[in-house]
Amino acid sequence: MTDRPATSPGWLHRITDSDIWWSFKSSSLTVVAAVGTLLIVVIAFLSPVLAPHTPFDPATLSLSDGLKPPVLLSPDGDWAFPLGTDDQGRDILSSIMYGTRLSLVVGFASVVVAMTIGIALGLISGYFGGAIDALIMRIADVQLTFPAILVALLIDGIVRSVISVQRHDEIAVFVIVGAIGLSFWVQYARTVRGSVMVEKNKEYVQAARVIGLSPLLIMVRHVLPNVTGPVLVIATINLGLAIITEATLSFLGVGLPSTEPSLGTLIRLGNDVLQSGDWWITVFPGITLAALVLAVNLLGDWLRDALNPKLR
């Protein structure tokens, strides 16, 4: 990961020459999923430039624009608000663009947190073995007994009782990233540990040990690069899960606050007015969320099959 020379221009060429690239090109569904994911990511991150409105700046809102239906489905629509507005007069399209950006950032950051914790504990567990391995793996076993969403909810609840409500809203993003990260580390740790136990008896590791390198250096520089394949697969599959988990927490009202809404928060706000028939406020963010997760899941499925030597 810290290996700089590997990212030289020859890297790109190596990718286009590889089996993986060939397998990617030959699966049209995967190409569609990749293009879809890329499109959503680019639009979300350019939302300050592309979004027609700044939905969470109260100064630009007008209540007289409230509850406008989508323009193509009703004569009451307004082209200034193509997907309609919510009860505060916020443009749904712009809210979705900003919300998707936040969902992506939180999802990605929590995958990085989970991956870092998992890889570190997996390396330690596999490399040193013994009592420390037993301890880490037993903790992993107990945590696996519970679904990740429950662990994340519990961590969030504990943080809430330690700090004040106002402070919690300020650092909500970090709490959520930490909670989701801590609930998904087990899979990485188990995979890395398994691979490390195979790798550590190979000659290159013994050679590194003989020339007197420190365990940390051996683990990070020599063992880690050889276990990245499976870790990458888990990370891609977990990205979809992390996005869903964040959305679910926000929907339940224990995630991101409504001043800083992600897709899940938008769906919750829309759900509050669903009974009066204003469906577009909640349905469009829901469709965006589903499309994003579907595209990421398709990529993850493909990557898992492409890197699985048994299926070649």
Partner: protein, 331 residues
């Protein structure tokens, strides 16, 4: 076989004790239990007396043992939010969650498995491909989005089914409010059960399909056909029966997931179950309720896992012989 069951029992107890330790640490060290029980102007001497009376000055191992002992009797203290006994709050809400999870599991099993068998037997048929594509979407749609869409279509637009609450319930044995005995109660169950069970349905369908595809290629299926057995006997008596071990594993694990995801479904449909209670306790940092819920879910999961392990012996006669146990342990 006996040694295997004993080992599994010991492991389950270890898991339960660990969960108990987490719940105890939550209860004892996150926030001060005394602060939440007395007013702000209570003098320090009175606080100290209460502390002594509640045994909070004893050594941590003794406190932990007492916590476990109380938990085993269903005593989890008073809720910080409502000042009611936590044990009673959970018992009152448990039937709602169990009935919902049961219906969702029945829905997932009785629709998912046949769909899996069908798509596994006729993988090239257009309807199989359609089911396969729909199941991919089903896996990607988060539970709460499914719930909201169902409410929108069947409650808000069509007015066919209620969108929140349990409808009418009848008391069974004087303490178990049930949905099953009234029309309104049954109607109220439909949308939440579908919402909760849909993910498990798609999962089961995909699992049964891939297992069936694998089994249908084996020699004993060809041989069964050669013997002139009917399609039904081959498909269900020979093929489906041999896909059951992974199906039982996944069903068991997913039963636990159902009860956990009931949290989301109960919030969407304002279903008065334990999941809703747990969400409220997270929002209000009501630690005793959180600790009790954690213990309860831990117990349920351990019981489910044990049952699944025992069921292996029922469906797979190979395991009843000596040495088979080691193979299941590696599952």
């Amino acid at each position: 076989m006996l040694a295997f069951i004993l080992r599994r029992l010991l492991q389950s107890i270890a898991v339960l004790l660990t969960v108990g330790l987490v719940a105890f640490s939550l209860f004892r060290y996150v926030g001060d239990p005394i602060n939440s029980m007395v007013g702000q102007d209570t003098p320090a001497s009175e606080r100290e007396a209460l502390r002594e009376r509640l045994g909070l000055n004893d050594s941590p191992p003794i406190q932990f043992l007492r916590f476990i002992g109380n938990a085993a009797q269903g005593k989890f203290g008073l809720s910080y939010r409502t000042s009611e006994p936590v044990g009673r709050m959970i018992v009152e809400r448990m039937p709602a969650t169990l009935e919902l999870s049961f219906c969702a599991a029945v829905f997932a099993l009785f629709v998912g498995v046949p769909m899996g068998v069908y798509t596994g037997l006729y993988p090239k048929h257009w309807s199989s491909r359609l089911m396969q594509a729909v199941s991919l979407i089903g896996i990607s749609l988060p539970t709460f989005v499914i719930g909201i869409l169902l409410i929108l279509v069947f409650a808000v637009w069509l007015h066919w089914l209620p969108s929140f609450g349990r409808g009418e319930t009848v008391m069974l044995f004087g303490w178990w409010p049930t949905n099953f005995l009234t029309v309104k109660g049954l109607q109220a169950l439909i949308l939440p059960s579908i919402t909760l069970g849909l993910f498990q349905l798609t999962l089961l369908m995909r699992l049964v399909r891939s297992e069936m595809l694998e089994v249908m290629r084996t020699d004993y299926i060809k041989f069964a056909r050669a013997r002139g057995l009917t399609n039904r006997a081959v498909n269900f008596g020979h093929a489906l029966k041999n896909t059951l071990v992974p199906v039982i594993t996944v069903t068991g694990l997913q039963l636990g997931a159902l009860i956990a995801f009931a949290i989301v479904t109960e919030t969407v449909f304002a279903w008065p179950g334990v999941g809703q209670l747990f969400i409220q306790s997270v929002q209000f940092s009501d630690i005793p309720v959180m600790a009790a819920y954690l213990m309860l879910i831990g117990l349920l999961f351990v019981l489910i896992n044990l049952t699944v392990d025992l069921l292996y012996f029922v469906v797979d006669p190979r395991l009843r012989s000596q040495g088979g146990a080691a193979r299941v342990a590696g599952h």
